[in-house]
Symmetry: C2
Subunit: 319 residues, 2 copies
């Protein structure tokens, strides 16, 4: 068992982490994603791996595996990768990269790698059954039980952001109306706040963002307004927590996780979001669940996905 | 690998099945459950096993395992069994029965054994990811993935009947208000119909069940009235399907099952229940799930639990 690399390949940046054989993160790098072609992006990924090895003075022969997490769909049978924000459209990423760097490569969905990393090395450490949810641009989940990452039929497990509810009025990028991720995500928080302001909300947020500036609003601004005392901004987080609880409540009864880890931009809001969320989940569940269930933020910060993809490749390719 | 026995130990009857080493059901027996004491019930179970062996002319030495499914909670760590409708209160059933019949014994929750049996030998055969729900006196679920029965933290997975919704007005036996199983179950169907009749519904059901007879109403009577043309009776099943879909929709997005198997008294109603259920689930899910998901009744009839417990013991104790 040698050194491992984990990579988080996003539409904006590639973050690469080099790990020792003991699983310790030794060094990481961050650079803009090359999006000109699949060939050039693959070459960039190989180069980034080599650069980290050189900087840490590790020979290529001592690298054993590379694991990649990316925002896309990976066909479990064919290994073909399709990712809307990357130049990958039915590309066998793992196989191509293996040819470029000479070690086995795994490619998995980025949310799954984040949750897998948290389950093994973060907030899920020491637990057997971990449900993870990320609330960023979109919303998705992953389920890890006894160290096994669940893929589901067709590899489709985890798309909880695309459940449609009649009381959610927004069109989703997926083509459906009322998808959960149109409200339960960083962009969903912004959308709710913009709608509220257009409907005549008054307060700090309205003062700070007059009509001509509303396009620039971010979920962080909504949180900041709440933190400074804007009641409407607080309601946005409460309502978001309530919508999320519709999925979490049945999930707890169905699977009995030890812990639900909720990460991403919205979760960073902290108590204004986690407080109501824990309340909504608790009041709808049998006390047996309530008493033991933890709902927690991630503990590895931005590195969850690096840990996850590095460990996933090591576990999967070496065993 | 020798003969196996599967037992379904209910509050009313014990059904015992003898299976060949090839997993074929050779013979079954059904008898009233002895409820005088744990000792006497355990002796009955041992006697029932011996009787089946004698009738089939199989020597006791060729019996390899006994598997039991019962309506109760089994502590996964201690093996202690507690079942409200059986004389078991913190009783180490598997260990005691092993002493009486001399072969290894497993004890699991009956709903899990039903779903496990269906997953291996019934409607889930050939699939990897199976979600099972039973709608009888109560409501519960089980999840089998790649042949592994999921227990969850504290062994608590599957109590989906005890999710409380604000628009469900009934008190549940568990002490909470608004539990799903107060409406999504055979007794829930009866309760909804009785409430409707009290509120002045007219039609076949009202004609057949005047006020002084309403206590005798069964879910089968509601189905019969629907089948004979009573519109209100049909609405009870549609509403029940709608309530159930609140749990099934998130479950599909979370786990991507190949098939959802729905058994028990309510499911026996057939199209009036499965039709709306499939519609509600489909219209709230992304097309990727819709296109591949099956929602099906069980295919082993009353024997699902026998197959499940026999197979479970054999798989678990011999491997």
């Amino acid at each position: 068992m040698g050194y491992r690399i984990g990579m988080d390949v996003g539409g904006t940046n590639v973050v690469t982490g080099l790990f020792g054989a003991d699983g310790k993160l030794l060094r990481k790098s961050k650079t803009r994603t090359v999006k000109t072609s699949s060939q050039e992006l693959l070459q960039q990924l190989a180069d980034l791996c080599r650069e980290l090895l050189i900087v840490e003075n590790v020979s290529e022969q001592r690298l054993s595996t590379v694991g990649i997490g990316l925002p896309g769909f990976i066909n479990a049978e064919t290994g073909l990768v399709t990712a809307a924000n990357l130049p990958f459209n039915d590309i066998p990423v793992a196989e191509r990269l293996r040819q470029l760097i000479g070690v086995p490569v795994t490619v998995e969905n980025d949310v799954r790698m984040i949750v897998y990393g948290e389950s093994l090395r973060g907030a899920g450490q020491g637990f057997s059954h971990i449900l993870g949810v990320t609330l960023g641009t979109g919303m998705a989940s992953a389920w890890v039980t006894n160290g096994h990452l669940h893929g589901g039929a067709g590899g489709l497990a985890g798309e909880i952001g695309h459940i449609a509810y009649p009381d959610i009025p927004y069109m989703c990028g997926c083509g459906m109306k009322g998808c959960l991720e149109t409200v339960v995500s960083a962009s969903g928080i912004v959308r709710q706040a913009q709608d509220g302001l257009s409907a005549g909300w008054v307060g700090l947020l309205a003062d700070r963002f007059p009509a001509h500036m509303r396009e620039e609003l971010t979920s962080k601004d909504v949180w900041q307004a709440y933190d400074d005392g804007d009641a409407f901004a607080g309601q946005v987080f409460q309502r978001t927590a309530n919508w999320l609880s519709r999925v979490l409540i049945p999930s707890v009864a169905l699977l009995s996780p030890d812990v639900i880890i909720i990460g991403g931009g919205v979760a960073a809001a902290g108590d204004v979001f986690f407080g109501p969320l824990r309340k909504y989940v608790a009041e709808s569940l049998h006390p047996l669940y309530r008493e033991r269930l933890l709902v927690a933020p991630p503990s590895l910060g931005d590195d969850s996905g690096l840990y996850g993809s590095a460990e996933y490749a090591a576990k999967r390719l070496i065993s």
